[in-house]
Amino acid sequence: MIDPMADIDHASAAPEIDGAGGDGNQEVFDANAYKSNFAKMDKIRSFMGIASGCVAGVCGLTGLGGLVCFLALHISVNLSLLTFKMNFDLHSYSRESMFAFLTADLQKCAMSFMLFWTLFYGLVYLF
């Protein structure tokens, strides 16, 4: 299984400047960095949705097991994004809460997860 984070350069998470220090309500928010970070995270999550669909299909999980697998993989990928790329510093990279970050884009990934789950389950077990 391909490592979903290979080849995706997330190093530009760095140029985001944290200005939330002593400046009242103002933050320095570099829109370009924000946009590019989020585009990359979006890519990672989509890829994760597809790959986890393949995994669930090949393993033959059905029903609730598949759903649990999807949620677990989604959250673990987001957690590892947080750990390895953001060093647990969520607030200098985005304005959401932790929960919102961990469950972001859940529906979009769920649709592609379902497609590939069905496809691979059928390919391996039915045909």
Partner: protein, 352 residues
């Protein structure tokens, strides 16, 4: 399940096979010809159709018209002002920020007096005022041009559904219409050609109510598990699931546009949001100047002013203590003796 094929389901072989974890349901094995000729080709067709649709959309999009000069100036002025408001507090010291603020919000009053006073930092000191004057002079002449996709990077209200103007709306709807038409056509075609057999089994249980929707053409198999679906539902699954795939493969410009606009709106109403059909430069500039003047009420600390303190930390020289040869003295007192100044300068050199 019996193994005699019923008329509408030629490809279904009924094998009894217990699923390994000893569950009570039985799994049908489907003919691999279904896979070769229906499932995978449908997938490929829909991938190609999606790509075709996006390319056609790109071709159909009209090329961006250049914007009238006045609007471009006004827009870039607004951009600079909003940048000042939003975040420049971390890069400028307080006096310079104040000077810029005053310069931008200066405006011409009717009797020729310039309000607000000038600051030192105005490279185009009353730029906003100049633009306002021009805008007022030209009246509504130029604003007849609807706000068009402009050449200013990053603020392209490009043709997708987020654009507020006439033309933008038309193009967005055109794109939408094309997608809908294509979807309907394909649905009809698929349900016509691939009718009457089971395609795949969805791995999750469905209730009986869905049977009618998902198993078109298989009415006589009333005992068939609802999980076995026919072609139309596979079509829907693929349609929804491939959106993410296309975002990966081709980069979804619509998504980026929408998110980009949201961020710009968060940053403080840069481009005047959707200003209706026309971009009223004078009014926008006037409101921006008002907002700028109001901001002064908030007292804020500028990081640059404290930069020396932050850098030096404990070694920041305090006013009362004057050491002759200590490390604290970095700046070399003007009235210092030769010994102390040479000591501090040598220390300075060593540190470098």
């Amino acid at each position: 399940m019996s193994s005699t094929p019923t008329p509408g389901s030629v490809f279904v072989h009924g094998h009894r096979r217990d699923h390994p974890p000893a569950r009570t349901s039985q799994t049908l094995l489907l003919d691999s010809q279904i896979r070769d000729w229906v499932v995978l080709p449908l997938l490929v067709i829909m991938i190609c159709a999606g790509m075709l649709r996006s390319q056609v959309g790109r071709l159909l999009r009209p090329s961006p018209r250049p914007m009238p000069n006045l609007d471009a100036r006004a827009r870039s002025a607004l951009l600079r002002v909003s940048r000042l408001r939003a975040g420049a507090g971390c890069y400028l010291s307080s006096s310079r920020w104040e000077a810029r603020r005053v310069a931008w919000s200066a405006r011409a009053y009717d009797d020729g007096r310039v309000g607000g006073g000038g600051g030192g930092g105005g490279e185009d000191g009353s730029a906003e005022r100049k633009i306002q004057d021009d805008a007022r002079r030209e009246g509504g002449g130029d604003s007849n041009d609807a706000m068009t996709p402009s050449l200013v990077p990053g603020m392209d209200p490009s043709t997708m559904m987020v654009s507020p103007t006439e033309r933008g709306r038309n193009d967005g709807m055109k794109g939408n219409m094309a997608a809908m038409v294509q979807n309907m056509v394909m649905m009809q075609g698929i349900s016509h050609f691939f009718r009457g057999f089971v395609l795949v089994k969805v791995p999750f249980p469905l209730t009986r109510g869905f049977k009618q929707m998902f198993q078109r053409g298989l009415y006589d198999l009333t005992t068939l598990d609802t999980s076995y679906v026919s072609s139309v539902s596979w079509y829907f699954l693929v349609m929804f699931g491939l959106r993410a795939f296309f975002r990966l493969a081709m980069g979804d410009p619509l998504q980026e546009e929408v998110e980009g606009n949201e961020i710009q709106r968060e940053l403080g109403r840069d481009y005047g949001g959707p200003p209706g059909a026309q971009f009223d430069a004078a009014k926008a500039l006037r409101t921006e100047a008002d907002n700028l003047e109001l901001i002064n009420v908030r007292s804020r600390r500028f990081k640059i002013d404290d930069a020396e303190k932050i850098l030096l930390g404990k070694r920041y020289p305090k006013k009362k203590k004057v050491k002759e040869s200590g490390d604290d003295v970095l700046f070399g007192l003007a009235s210092g003796k030769n010994k102390s100044s040479s000591a501090s300068s040598s220390r300075h050199k060593k540190r470098e």
